[in-house]
């Protein structure tokens, strides 16, 4: 297994020699190989492989207890890996100690968007201040403000809403603030944990569009959901996680229209549709 241990600094990119598209210019946003995660004696992830290229949107589907949240937390360094490797933006984060994590985080390489923006945003902070929480770790002063404002513009939040608190925003607006906070530090990888499932249908579209824009700008997205149908529209590839194993890996169209694994077939058959 080739280990590329190249630090990603600024615009400089590291080309992975793995079996990816040879045309890919930058390091993978995320490359997970043979990852296992254990809580005590219980193994929640078995030998998981997955990669997210720059600007790629990868959907990870799993029901409760499938290990999808453990996978996200391991990638973000909140849960240790028992075996295997995790590479984010070209760095072997599974070997990081606390000081390296601190440096890595303050560089803003990997960010997360949570399910419910009402709990992921501090209710006392305005939209702008919430976004500043992140940018201030990367840059100082006016530059931090400029980046925060830039991020809010990128997610299409009107300027008159910047000084509102979460309670004064709609669900979709709140989630876009959370996305702005994450992308303001220009992460290589954005992990989205059920980014639309707490939102009403009418808010979902605006958030999905904002996420698609983020991917277009080159950030790799790992979108975790229990709901296959909500991923169909944005995911380039879809992986299905069942009891800690990846049982299916393909393009969204392949997985949704011609699932191979029996579990995926059950899962897709269970999705309620409005089709007659």
């Amino acid at each position: 297994m080739t280990q590329t241990l190249i630090e990603r600094t600024g615009a400089e990119s590291a080309v992975s020699t793995e079996d990816r598209d040879s045309s890919a210019p930058a390091a993978d946003a995320l490359r997970v190989q043979g990852l296992s995660v254990r809580y005590g004696a219980r193994t929640v992830l078995h030998d998981v492989d997955l990669h997210v290229g720059p600007g790629e949107v990868v959907g990870l589907i799993g029901e409760s207890g499938s290990g999808k949240t453990s996978l996200a937390r391991t990638v973000l360094g909140l849960v240790p890996a028992a075996a295997g490797s995790v590479e984010v933006a070209g760095q072997r984060v599974d070997r990081f100690g606390p000081p390296q994590w601190r440096r890595f985080r303050r560089a803003g390489h990997a960010q997360q968007v949570f399910q419910d923006p009402l709990s992921s945003l501090d209710g006392r902070f305005t939209a702008l201040r919430s976004v500043l929480v992140g940018t201030r770790e990367v840059v100082r002063g006016a530059e931090a403000t400029r980046r925060a404002e830039d991020a809010l513009r990128r997610v299409g939040l009107a300027e008159r809403l910047w000084n509102r608190r979460p309670a004064q925003l709609s669900g979709g607006q709140r989630q876009r603030v959370a996305i702005a906070r994450a992308i303001a530090v220009d992460p290589a990888l954005l992990v989205c944990d059920e980014p639309v499932s707490a939102l009403d249908a009418s808010s979902r579209i605006e958030v999905v569009r904002a996420l698609a824009d983020v991917a277009r700008s080159g950030t790799g997205l790992l979108v975790i959901s229990h709901d296959l149908s909500s991923l169909g529209a944005i995911a380039d590839r879809v992986l299905v996680l069942h009891n800690g194993h990846i049982v299916e890996d393909g393009t969204a169209a392949q997985v949704l229209t011609a699932p191979q694994h029996p579990y995926t077939q059950t899962l897709i058959a269970a999705i309620p549709t409005i089709a007659a």
């Binding site: 029901e63 960010q111 992921s120 296959l228 529209a233 969204a252 309620p272 549709t273």
Partner: protein, 605 residues
């Protein structure tokens, strides 16, 4: 500042605050305003009663009691405050360490806190006094150290809630240093808790100071303190029975004022002890089985409050007087005739206590044997409408007009988050039996027999094993099956399912929806299904009502609503599925395959 203003609107808080301001002024200026030197003895005038010169009389050395009281306030109060300050600083630091510190340090902090809880205040303070010399400061630091665990426990609970929040996790992912996280996110949130705890602790500490000075610890006579005066006065109780009243009152009033203030601060909405307010609309409350009263028109009543100790979920539907409602003509739907209707809701209006309208004139019909869906987002009024039907409107929300006519006998219902309807410490079997015995008047043996039947009926094999289990041992899908079993056990006419599958995984959701369909057929049920998910309703209901902002924006047969939605909002919801749903992907995949085939003549994998 708004918090202070709100606080002052409460008379008791205003009085308590005024008392404390006076005490504070006496602490600052007591020695200046004292009419006499508190230490000046006058052996000619000992133990005198109140007079123009000595308003509260004199003590056994002829010293002016008022002057001693005024100048003794500073030492008594400041010593108490000193202990609280020590406890506050030590306790908050320990609590923050116990939450944010490395694991070994957390362990040490917890053990130390536990052992300190076991030490008695006054004995410890006396011992410290003996050890470090008879200094009030040493004694108060000792008291402060012993009081710190109280702060640790209260503050840690408050800190933990914030520390586990996702915005703190988000800040950690940015690498924000812990100290800054504490300063920006955590401390502002625990200020109210600190205030409340400090006020209560100050009250307790005043009593400790009074006790210590009463015992002569820390303060040498002749320095005046409240406790010391009390002690001296008690020796002459036979001669001057009223002399101890003044210092005793000073202690009592100050302590009481602090206690009242602490309570009132705790009551403040700004205290944010439960700051994340939820909309009244979506507070889910319980119901399942049904009552036993019949009437042409049924008003629901007698909802069980959340504090009800009854283990089982239940909700009685009883007859009552129909309010003279603004019942207009029955809305002429496109289906059936009004005489078939099991449930008719006419012009229902629900308002909050503040007068804010929440449901603004809803007309809805559920014909017999039909499944009707209510689609809406949170805050649309769909859940309130159902709660009004079940007589379970939350406090502060009431029916302002319209009528609900239920032409059946019983309503069974199931809700979101099924696990919350069972007590965690009782077996499921005992709770199911309780409901069956209460609602259907069965004996213990009959109930157990019926329970086995019911669980098997909803597809739970091995009912005895499940009955012996506790709620946390079962999956959400299994618990929802049990609740469905209870709901149909009373042979209801109408089954209400309010977001019954929302918290479940899709595969489990499919099973539960399948079960509802089967029960509907087997029990000839009418169904009223409430959901935010169009696809769930599309599969299960013949008719749809679309709620938005307290009104119905669209109603009609399901296929008609899906095929030709009239209202822009409904069109948006349908588009959400056709643009992002699985159909969209399938269609896109089919088109892409066709295109590829047309271009290359080769079928894509």
């Amino acid at each position: 500042m708004t918090a202070l203003r709100t606080l002052l609107t409460r008379p008791s808080a205003a009085v308590a605050l005024a008392v404390l301001v006076i005490v504070a002024l006496v602490v600052a200026f007591g020695e200046l305003i004292a009419p006499h030197d508190p230490l000046a003895q006058n052996t000619a005038d000992v133990l005198a009663g109140p007079s123009a010169a000595h308003w509260l009389g004199t003590d056994y050395l002829g010293r002016d009691i008022l002057s001693r009281l005024l100048s003794g306030t500073r030492l008594s109060v400041l010593a108490a405050a000193e202990a609280v300050l020590v406890a506050l600083l030590l306790g908050t630091t320990a609590a923050l360490t116990a939450v944010f510190g490395p694991r070994p340090i957390r362990w040490v902090v917890e053990r130390v806190v536990d052992s300190f809880m076991a030490l008695p205040f006054i004995t410890f303070a006396v011992a410290i006094g003996a050890l470090l010399g008879n200094s009030i400061h040493a004694a108060m630091v000792a008291v402060g150290v012993l009081a710190a665990p109280t702060f640790v426990r209260v503050v840690r609970a408050a800190v933990l809630r914030t520390a586990q929040s996702q915005y703190v996790e988000a800040a950690r992912l940015f690498g924000v240093p812990v100290v800054r996280i504490v300063l920006t996110h955590v401390l502002p949130r625990i200020v109210p808790v600190l205030l409340v705890t400090s006020a209560s602790a100050l009250a307790a500490s005043l009593l400790v100071v009074a006790s210590l000075t009463f015992l002569g610890v820390g303060v040498q006579p002749p320095a005046p303190t409240w406790g010391g005066m009390l002690s001296a006065d008690l020796s002459y109780l036979a001669l001057r029975p009223f002399n101890p009243i003044a210092p005793a009152l000073a202690i009592m009033v100050t302590v009481a004022a602090l206690g009242i203030l602490a309570d009132r601060i705790r009551d403040l909405p700004q205290a944010g002890i439960d700051a994340d307010a939820e909309s009244a609309d979506e507070t889910t409350r319980d119901t399942a089985a049904s009552g036993d009263d019949t009437a042409e028109s049924v008003r629901t009543a007698a909802a069980h409050g959340p504090a009800d100790a009854e283990p089982g979920p239940e909700q009685e539907v009883t007859s009552g007087s129909e309010p003279a409602a603004a019942s207009g003509a029955v809305s002429s739907g496109a289906w059936g005739t009004a005489s078939d209707d099991l449930l008719t809701i006419d012009g229902l209006r629900i308002t909050a206590e503040s007068g804010r309208p929440l449901v603004r004139g809803v007309d809805l019909r559920v014909p017999r044997g039909v499944s009707v869906g209510i689609l809406g987002e949170s805050g649309s009024g769909k859940t309130l409408t159902v709660k009004a039907l079940l007589g379970a409107l939350p406090d502060g929300v009431e029916v302002a007009g319209g009528s609900i006519n239920f032409a059946g006998e019983r309503i069974g219902s199931v809700f979101q988050d099924p696990a919350t309807w069972f007590a965690p410490h009782l077996t499921l079997g005992s709770q199911i039996d309780e409901v069956l015995r209460h609602a259907q008047g069965l004996t213990r043996v009959e109930a157990a027999e019926r329970r086995r039947e019911l669980l098997t009926h909803v597809g739970l094999d091995d009912p005895d094993r499940i009955s012996a289990q506790y709620v946390h041992e079962l999956s959400g899908g299994m618990i929802q099956r049990i609740l469905l079993a209870i709901a149909v056990s009373g042979e209801p006419d109408l089954l209400v399912a309010d977001e019954a599958t929302t918290a479940l995984d899709v595969t489990v959701q499919a099973e539960v929806l399948g079960l509802i369909r089967r029960l509907r057929a087997e029990h000839a049920l009418s169904v009223l299904m409430i959901s935010h998910d169009l696809a769930v309703l599309a599969h299960s209901c013949e008719y749809l009502y679309v709620f938005r902002d307290g009104v119905i924006v669209e109603a009609g047969p399901t296929d008609q609503v899906l095929r030709a939605p009239q209202h822009p909002y409904t069109r948006e919801l349908v588009a959400d599925h056709t643009v992002f749903g699985i159909e969209a992907v399938r269609r896109a995949a089919a088109e892409a395959a066709e295109e590829a085939e047309a271009q290359t003549g080769v079928r894509q994998p």
